[in-house]
């Protein structure tokens, strides 16, 4: 490699730091906050020792999160806190690389840069340095935080470096996605797909007793390899670095082999004439989103099907202690481990972590259409604002139903086929479909924000989702009661409520609230300027 290929990397890095002065601190500090949160949860419990021993022994929580290693307060904080922290860093690092490479290239701004004395690798290199540097910083801050809380220095350092390594490999995966896909949205989709696969690898590892080879494919669980505060293995860090180097090297190789603006997949020619049904705003909205809906359907069906198929491997032994511990434990003891496992993963995929993201991003695409001036193109024709916005929201509603249907069918089939009996199938399908009203409510909140506060809608949306998830976490460990949970739409189709006990009334009310939010959002949109 010629040295001048890297010319200007430092200057670009400065530019990226300037552009990311808000985004970067968020994902660098988020791990710290998640760990601090987990620490305060665990310490707030008078009998935390009983708590972690119980959770570690429960087949259900082991399947979802793995056993607690080592079985100490440090281990309990790694167990959930470092897992969440790693996920935050992984996604932050990968999306940062895409933001500065493919997004810039697709917008044509990269051309401005490459026309200057800037080497061909400078852009990608600066993006990798930023992402890996951010991950390392997140890791070191974590180390300092843990030491500051009187944790052992070696374990704290190892925990921080393991966290940084998980971000590093996803920076590489983000770089790879940015080379393969010509569209930044597809590249981001690729990253989320890769993350979904690591999640599956983690569950496979948990079910196999938590020390199988699968764990190497799940960077969010790499602390199970290094075991900070336990066996303290440092050598795997070297392997992580080699693993990280792989996608990074391949990204550089692809970068010089592909054309500017192109991905690896050559764009096909389009049709000279539009199909006769492509004739209305709903048709346009469907056309814009059908690809992403299809990917969601396939992804959710795959994850749900695999998790469902793994369900019979979970032992049904329930310790009576779990039920005593808190509301969550009691609910899970009532459901049984296998049904509890299915209820929890459907809740996470179908509502909290999965479909709420689908809802928010789909509604946010309205803002993107507006900023790119596509909205103006359509609204300057005889199309009412109601029809335009309504078309996209209809696609969001219908899309979420399709995805939840796929999730429910695949999970139910997976479990039924693996168990050899079909009595669970209707219940699993019901679990998934019961998430429709809360998901629609999330879409409603997003529509309300888009209608009235388009500029800050995106940030506010994610913040509100974050608050909902935070309340959920507080409730799980028993810090807040169910009445707090009821402020979130999650409570009305919650995993802790057995599906046959779920009441229809609140779900109908929730659907009404979603409709009202949409109505209010529409009023705001009709009153404001476009663009």
């Amino acid at each position: 490699m010629n040295k001048c290929h890297f010319a200007g990397t430092g200057k670009l890095l400065q530019l990226y730091l300037r552009r990311d002065r808000i985004v970067l601190p968020i994902w660098v500090l988020l791990p710290l906050m998640l760990l601090a949160g987990q620490m305060s949860f665990v310490r707030a419990m008078p009998d935390w020792r009983v708590f972690i021993e119980e959770l570690s022994a429960s087949p259900l929580t082991s399947a979802l999160l793995g056993p607690i290693v080592p079985l100490s307060i440090e281990g309990a904080i790694m167990w959930r806190g470092l897992l969440q922290a790693s996920i935050a860093v992984m996604l932050g690092a990968a999306l940062t690389v895409i933001r500065h490479t493919r997004t810039e290239e697709a917008a044509g701004r990269n051309e401005l840069i490459l026309g200057r004395p800037i080497g061909r690798y400078a852009n990608l290199t600066a993006a990798f340095i930023l992402s890996c540097g951010g991950s390392l910083l997140a890791g070191l801050l974590t180390t300092v935080f843990l030491i500051g809380n009187a944790f052992a220095g070696s374990g704290s350092l190892l925990a921080g470096l393991t966290l940084a390594a998980s971000g590093g490999i996803f920076a590489g995966i983000g770089g790879l996605g940015a080379q393969i896909f010509a569209h930044s949205g597809n590249a981001r989709g690729g990253v989320f797909g890769a993350y979904g696969l690591t999640m599956l690898a983690m569950v496979l590892n948990n079910l196999g007793g938590s020390s199988t080879g699968w764990v190497w494919l799940a960077p969010e669980a790499w602390f199970r390899i290094t075991v900070p505060f336990g066996e303290n293995h440092a050598w795997p860090l070297l392997v992580f670095i080699v693993l990280t180097a792989l996608p990074v090297m391949v990204s550089y190789m692809l970068l010089v082999r592909r054309d500017l603006d192109a991905g690896l997949v050559r764009p096909k020619e389009g049709a000279a004439h539009a199909s006769p049904r492509f004739n209305s705003p709903p048709a346009l909205a469907w056309r814009q989103h059908k690809g992403s809906i299809l990917v969601w359907v396939i992804g959710m069906a795959f994850l749900g099907g695999s998790m469902g198929a793994l369900t019979p491997n979970i032992a049904e032994t329930v310790s009576p202690m779990l039920a005593e511990m808190n509301a969550w434990g009691a609910a899970m003891a009532k459901l049984g481990n296998q049904e509890g496992f299915v209820a929890v993963f459907i809740y996470i995929l179908g509502l909290m972590g999965g479909l709420s993201v689908f809802g928010i991003t789909t509604v946010q695409s309205l803002r993107r259409e507006e900023k790119e001036r596509y909205t103006e193109m359509v609204l300057s024709r005889p199309v009412s604002r109601w029809k335009w916005m309504g078309s996209y929201l209809a696609v969001a509603f219908a899309g979420s139903v399709l995805i939840l249907l796929a999730l429910g069918l695949a999970s139910g089939l997976g479990w039924s086929v693996a168990a050899g009996e079909f009595r669970h199938f209707p219940r699993v399908l019901g679990m998934s479909l019961s998430k429709i009203p809360p998901v629609w409510t999330i879409i409603g909140i997003a529509a309300l924000l888009y209608g009235w506060l388009p500029r800050i809608a995106s940030a506010l949306n994610w913040f509100i989702l974050g608050v909902f998830i935070f309340i959920e976490m507080l409730w799980e460990v028993g810090i807040v009661g169910w009445s707090a949970m009821q402020w979130t739409p999650f409570a009305y189709a919650h995993s802790s409520i057995p599906i046959h006990e779920l009441s229809m009334g609140p779900l109908i009310v929730l659907t009404g609230i979603a409709a009202a939010l949409i109505g209010l959002g529409f009023i705001g949109f009709r009153r404001r300027s476009i663009g």
Partner: protein, 301 residues
């Protein structure tokens, strides 16, 4: 009847005043040129007329209706070509043309083919891979294929090559022959001169001149650069303005109606080289409004 009529139209974004009282009257069947430098308020005016922006004050009427309230019914009767065209990257040009046309109703296939041939546009390519000029062509085809009675065009020729500009002008003539009204915003004076019956000049959110082009002739001077063999003072000639001399090279502007006299006076002086160019809008503004214009522009930044 006036197709477009605005009175004392204002629009402000916070403290920044984009429009400070725009008065327009566009008659049915005419090609109206709406010219002004970048940032003068052309696009803001158009977006108010389209019901995308709400005016802060004043009145706007479009085809006899209210642009904000009656947007949908009014848009049935007009087509709009935006200045800065970005199209859905995953759709082909042909699909965009068909889709936009179907929002109005039916599309005339023979007219569509004729326009695609005229503009030499390949409808199969995805919009992502079109150049700026080609994207512009997609929107122009989609505008001319419709039978709307009013065309609102915002700097429609930006990115087109001269050959295509020619095609564009032919299309405008054709549209005019059919009795349709065209509202053409531009910052290229020459384009407006060839096409428009009447013009309105906007500067810093205000209409500063309007009327038939003949009435505005005082604004359209030609800039001449000439190298002469004999020494001469050209400033005394009738119709010559702002003459400046560098050795034997003269640069000055000439009123359109004085050109003949000036050329006759120059001919015996031994012309070594001569170029004549139409003034750019900015030049014209600086000349017409003096330094006041430059100062204000600099101040507003």
């Amino acid at each position: 009847m006036n197709v477009i009529e605005t009175r004392k139209l204002t629009k402000s974004y916070g403290r920044q005043e984009a429009l400070r009282g725009v008065d327009l009257a566009v008659k049915q069947g005419e090609v109206y040129g709406f010219i002004g430098p970048n940032g003068a308020g052309k696009t803001t005016t158009i977006r108010i007329l389209l019901g995308m922006l709400r005016q802060s004050g004043g009145e706007a009427k479009l085809l006899g209706g209210d642009p904000w309230q009656d947007a949908v019914t009014l848009h049935q009767r007009l087509v709009y070509v935006p200045g800065d065209v970005i199209l859905w990257p995953n759709l082909s040009g042909g699909e965009v043309i068909d889709f936009l046309a179907r929002l109005h109703g039916k599309i005339n296939p023979s007219r569509r083919k004729e326009l695609l041939d005229k503009f030499q546009l390949d409808p199969k390519k995805k919009c992502r891979s079109y150049s700026k000029g080609n994207r512009q062509k997609v929107v122009l085809v989609s505008a001319f294929v419709s039978d709307a009675e009013l065309l609102i065009l915002d700097e429609p020729t930006s990115g087109l090559d001269p050959l295509m500009e020619q095609v564009f002008q032919e299309c405008i003539y054709e549209v005019k022959k059919q009795g349709k009204t065209v509202f053409l915003s531009s910052h290229i004076l020459a384009e407006v001169e060839t096409l428009c019956d009447r013009v309105g000049i906007i500067r810093q959110g205000k209409i500063v001149e309007s009327g038939a082009l003949e009435e505005l002739r005082h604004l359209t001077r030609t800039t001449v650069t000439v190298e002469l063999a004999k020494p001469v003072n050209l400033n005394q000639l009738h119709g010559v303005h702002d003459g400046s001399q560098k050795e034997r090279k003269w640069r000055f502007s000439v009123d359109a109606n004085a050109m003949d006299g000036v050329m006759k006076a120059l001919a015996p002086m031994g012309i070594k080289s001569l170029t004549a160019e139409p003034p750019t809008l900015e030049e014209l503004f600086i000349r017409h409004y003096g330094n006041e214009f430059e100062d204000k522009e600099a101040g507003s930044r």
